[in-house]
Structures are given as C-alpha cells and as structure tokens.
C-alpha cells in the first residue's frame, strides 16, 4: 500500500485524534486535520490531500456546504470526499451519493478499520 495523505475535517478534536492515530497505526498514512469546514477547505487547497474525510454535523458550515464549496474550486474539485455521518439511513446514504460524494462511513466506526474502508471505497 502506497503512502497516502488524508484530510479529516471534524469539529470534534477526539475524532480528529482517533482517526489520525488509527490510520497511522494501521496503514502509516499521513493524516491532516481541520476543525471546521472553512479551515478544511484552506488545508485542502494548499495541501492537496489524496482523500478527505468530512463530518456532516458541524456548527457554522456543515459537511454538505463544505463539500459543495470544495466542488466549486478547481484545485479541490478532483479530491475524493468521504462523509462521516451518524445518520445511517439507506435513503440518506443514497441522497449523499447523489450529491457526488465518493462514499459514506457511518459513526460509530473503528478507526483501525478506516484505511481498509477508504481503500475499498476509492478502489485504491
């Protein structure tokens, strides 16, 4: 498995930490963190990660708005986005897929499983 750079955008610091630790521990990938949508967009523009894990429920700018913003910039529109959500409904998953996101991972998840899940979703 080649080394990847993953950006996690989540307002919860604990999530940022376990995601970072889990991915590093399992796959050894670099994990960048951002605690809000706007910060995440800036990081994505400058750092050009291989994939973005984006939390749906965030204050101010939520995951959907952030995703739409990322899609609107040419430098970020190609970066695959996987949503992290507590909403596990099948209908909602379809709705997210219709937006153009690459995949959905439902909370609660085991961060040790994340590299496998990401690789499967993005066909790495």
């Amino acid at each position: 498995m080649t080394t990847r750079r993953i950006l996690i955008i989540d307002d919860e610091e604990t999530i940022q930490t376990v995601v970072q630790f889990g991915i590093k521990m399992t796959a050894g990938w670099d994990v960048l963190t951002a605690s809000s949508g706007s910060k995440g967009i800036q990081t994505a523009q400058t750092e050009q990660p291989d994939a973005i894990l984006l939390d749906v429920m965030m204050p101010e700018m939520d995951g959907i708005a952030t995703f739409k913003a990322l899609q609107s910039y040419p430098e970020t529109e190609q970066i695959p986005v996987i949503l992290l959500t507590a909403k596990a409904q099948a209908a909602e998953k379809r709705q997210f897929n219709d937006l153009g996101v690459s995949g959905v991972i439902t909370k609660p998840f085991n961060s040790l499983d994340l590299p496998d899940q990401i690789a499967r979703i993005l066909h790495w």
Partner: protein, 740 residues
Amino acid sequence: MSKGSSQRSSQPRKQKSSSAIAGQKRTNKLLLAALFENACDAIAIIDDWGYFIDVNVAAMQVFGLPGEALVGCNVQDFTDGALDIEQIRGHAQTKPKSLGELHLVCRDGVQRDVEYTLTPEVLPHRHLLILRDISGRREVMENELRRQRQRVELFSEVTLKIRQSLQLKEILQTTVTEVQRILQADRVLIYQVFSDGTGKTISEAVLPDYPVILDMEFPVEVFPTDYQQLYAQGRVRAIADVHDPANGLTDCLVEFVEQFGIKAKLIVPILQNLNSHPQNESNSQNQLWGLLIAHQCNTPRHWVDFELELMQQLADQISIALAQAQLLEHLEDRVEARTVELKEVNRNLQQEITDRMQAEAALRQSEEQLRLITNALPVLIAYIDDQQRYRFNNQAYQDWFGRSPAEIDGCHLRDVWGENSYQKMQPHVEAALAGHVVTYENDILLNNGSPRSVDVTYIPDVDDQKTVKGFFALTSDISDRKAIERMKDEFISVVSHELRTPLTSLHSALKMLATGRLGTLTTDGQQLLGIADESTERLVRLVNNVLDLQRIESGEVIMDRQAHNAADLMIQATEAMQPMAHQHEITLVTQPADILIWADCDYILQALTNLLSNAIKFSSSGKTVWLTVEHQQCTNPEHNLTHPSPLTPHPSQPAPLPTSAVALFRVRDEGQGIPADQLERIFERFQQVDSSDSRKKGGTGLGLTICRKIIEQHDGRIWAESLPGQGSTFSFTLPALNGG
C-alpha cells in the same frame, strides 16, 4: 142542390105519370126551401170565384150581414184567403167533399171559429158551402183546460211546499193548511190511526169560528176496524150531507160528528207501504196509517172531482213523506251509530297523540341529557348521515369552528372542515359509510389557520336490514400528545447522534489500546480492556437499535417497497450471518425459493439477520438453524387488510396490493425454547425470557420489537411458536406478488 137531388132520384121513377111527378117536385121544392131557411148551419151557394149566390138566415148571422148585402160578396173576404176554392174544385174528382175549420172575421167585427163543408159542383159552377159556428164549444174547452192547468200548478205548489221539508210534522201541517186554503173548507185535519184501533188528530187547519179538535184522541168505536179495512184498500168517501141516509152513516156517528158542527166531509186514506219495512218483506199489503179529512160545517157541500183528486194526491204525497221519514230515521240511526264510532276513533287518536307527545317529551329530555353530557366533553361528538351531513354535534364544534351546533346541523362535512381537511377525511368517511369501524389520525388546519392533530373514530350506524344509515364520529384533539411525541423523537434522535461521536472515539481508542502497539498491559489490564471494548460495542448496538426503533415508530421512515425475490434476500442474510454461525459452531441451513415479494429489502434483511442472530445466539454449539420460505394463499383476514370485514378496524394506510397471497418466512432453531406465556411478550421492548441470559448473549432487548415494527410496516404479521426444550420457530408473512 134541389135540382141535383131530384135528378138523381128521378131516375128509377121514369114510369110514373108526369102530373104525379110535377106534384112530387113541388112538394120537394117547398121542403127543401124550408130546410134551407131553417137549418141551424149556415148554408151558402157560391160560384167558381167564391161569390155568394144564395145564403140562408143562419149564414147571414154567421157573416153578420143581411142577405142582400151578403150576395155579391166574396167568401174569401171573410176568411182572409184561407179557403182555396179553385184547389178544392181541381180535386173534385177524387175528393167530392172538403172539410175543415175556418176563422171568420165578420163585418159586425165579431170573430168566429167555424167548421166548414165545401161540396163542389152541386150544379154546374155552383158549390155548396155549409158552416157551423163552433166558437162557443171552443171557449168551454179552453176554460176546462185553464182550470186543469191551475189545478196542476196548485198540486205542484203544494207538493213543493211539502217536499221542502223533511220533518213529518211540518209536512202534515203544510198539507192541512194548503188544502184548507184551496178547498175553502171549514176544517182540514189529519187523523192518525194507531195499531190498537184508536186514533188522534195530529194536524189541523180550522177556521176560527169552529171548535179545535187537534190532539183529540178518539176511541176505537168511532172508527171501527172494518172501516179501517175498507180505507186500507183505498176507499175514498165524499159525503155531501151527513144527514142524508143514502150515505149509510150510523146514527151514533152522525151524532158524534154533529158535536163538531160537521155538515159535509171528504175522507181519503193515507197509506203506508209495508214493503219499505225490511221486517215485512213478504207482506206487500198497504197499511192504513191515517186519514186526510176535510170538513164543511156551515152547510152541506157537494164535493167535486177536483177536490177529491187534490186530497188523494196530497195523501199520496204524505205516504211518500212517511216512507222518506222512515228512511231518514234509519239514516239518522246509522249516522248516530257512525258518530259513536267516530267519537271512539277520535278518542283513540287523542290518546295516541297524548302518548306520542309524552314519548316525544321523553325523547327530548333524553336528547337534552345526551346534549348536556356530550357538551361537557372536550371531544368532538357527532352523528353524520349517509349524505355526509351533520345530524348531531356537540358544543366542542363551536369551540373549534366558531359555529353553534344549530348552525352546523344539516351542513355537509366539507362545509364544516374545509376542502383540504375533507380531502384527507373522505376515504375514511367512505369506509365508515361502507360499514367499517374506522380509526385514524389526521393533521388538519382550522379556519383560523391553527394546525391540529386529531384522533378520529367512525362507528357506522347499521340498521336491521344491514343498511348503513350514517355513522358516529368521535374526534379528539391529540395535538399536545403529538407535540410531546415529536419532542421525544427529536430528543432520542439528537441523543443518539450525539452519543455516536464520543462512542466512535471511545471505541476506536479502546481498539487501538487492544492492539498492544501502544504498550503492553498486564493480564488484568487486558481483561479490563476487553470488558470496556465489549461494553462499547453493545452500547453502539443499543444506540443503533434505539434510533432505528424511534425512526420506524415516528413514521420518519417510509418503507421504500419494491418487488424483490425472496431467495436473494435469504441468501444475503445467510451470508451475512455465516461468520457468526461459524463462531458459535452452528450449521446454518437455508432453503431459498423464488417468490416475488413487495418489500423494502434493507429492512427485510435487517429483520432476517436479526432473527437468525437470535437463533444462533440461543442455540447450543453443534445445532442447526433453518431459514425457509413458502408461498401461501392467505385465508386469515388479519393477513389481508385490503378488504377488511365489516366492523373490524380499517387500516389508516390500506395495503396497495389487491392480493391475498403471502410469502411465509420461518427461522427455526433447536434451542431451549420459549415458555408459551412469553411468546407474545418477547416482541415488546426490553422483554427477554431471561434478562441475565440476554446480557450474556449481548442483546439489546430491542431486536424483536424492531422486527415486528418492520413487518407491520409491510402489512405482514410476525409471531413465535415454541416447544420448550425442543426449539423455537419465528415466522412472518409479507405480501407476495405472484402465485410463487
């Protein structure tokens, strides 16, 4: 004329001597002249044009002119041309004589009616005219006719007066009064004969100079029964003088009548036809009812035919009146009887009206009580007829709609609730009018714009003939309950979501610690870490289940139903559960069949895996768990709610499939089984046969509740059967699309 007759008579005497013949001729001539002059009839000889040639004395009198003045006059001048001599002459061959009547206007101004005989050609161009004055005779006849007409008029006048009344007494009085007036008699009376032979004067018209005998009763001796017999046969007696022995009146009778100053009397019987009496139909004889009697008191009197006739006619009228009076009496009896009957009917009607009024009053009172009770309730209570119009509604309607019960009474549902709300109500209203008990919840907007959630029950009003006459509608406001439910759902949803984030951190952190790559723990430490990890996983399942259940119950989830092959779902579920089965050393056997079902595959998979997971968990290692499916034609109405039977609850969301075929899924294990009294309870939340056992198996206590909710959302049914010690079978049905 004299010559003519001598010619005719001379023929057979040709042999006689001429002197004898001459002497005979002279004698005849004298005789004829005497006959001519002295004849009572007027005799005239006229010529061809009607001019008088010779006339006798009588003719001079008839025409009113002396002989010399009359000769040379024309007969046509007196007859106004009525006598056509030429015509009579023309017919002389066939009709030797012409007869007729003429009206003469004479010179003395007198007009006469005459009979005439015209014998043409008694001598050549001489005609014999004989006239007889009949003016006197005609006058007599006319007087007689006039008299008769007067009598007829009199009769009819009296008859009319009699007929104008139905009262017998009045008729009798009118009769005696009129007879007395017409006959100028001193007394006229009606004497009634009684069955014992006695009698009594019951009507009388008498001149003031003579004694009154009205109401006087007479003994049988005065009018013996043999006399009565004679009168009954129609005898009429006219006695000009009571003292005349020719009348044959007994002395005692003469003496008797003299005390009333009676000189002459006229008696006619009044008969009663017994035929009119129903009791004596066989006897057609007339019975003497009484007598109509006229008295002359000052002098004897010769009664004339007219008087007799008048009396008889009036007696007949009285007979008719008697018969009518009898009929009238009969009629009155019938009227009386009928009146009694009618009074009885009337009384009964009155009673009925009273009863009905009392019943109505009782009904009103009962209705008033019902109204008081229903008005005190905060629920909308109404009766709606089969035309969807209000026939009863309580006070609550006024509070909701601002219209009094009286205003709403008779209004259509649509007018009261508004078009939008009515649209939502309509299918349920129609179901109620089809005879189903309907219960449903609805969100409506009142006229003032305020939203309400209501719980509605319709109970059809079915009569003896199974006809739905209307329905009772109970509508309660569940807005508060709904608001609380929404708050609860929202709370659960938020809490579940909020729990997930810390759970993710906790879960991931524990998993990383467990890898040992962050440092090695003591054995005790590792054991504690294992407990923390396991509890976290259970907490995750619990949160997931709570959220699932809340979503399904709140209706937030709408089943996305499509056609699926049961076999595919069964294989997917088995594959998903295979690792767990392997872990528990359980053999998982599935027997898939191609049955098209109408379902949301995600939820059916959830239900299947849930049931399989339970079966595996509660089986000992080495046992087998079976998953089977079969096609069934449903006979249990509970399975098919598309056509609910009358008086069973009508589903708020009728199943879309007009089929009664189902797919029956079964999950069978060889576990410890479930006691019979627990078979139903295990589907309630947090109910397990043994809660300690449940914790040991890592269950949440919500799995079966979620399964039941999922299956019910699919219009199916789920249940459990078990033989304790031998295993359990969980079955559920889903609507099938084809015959399998």
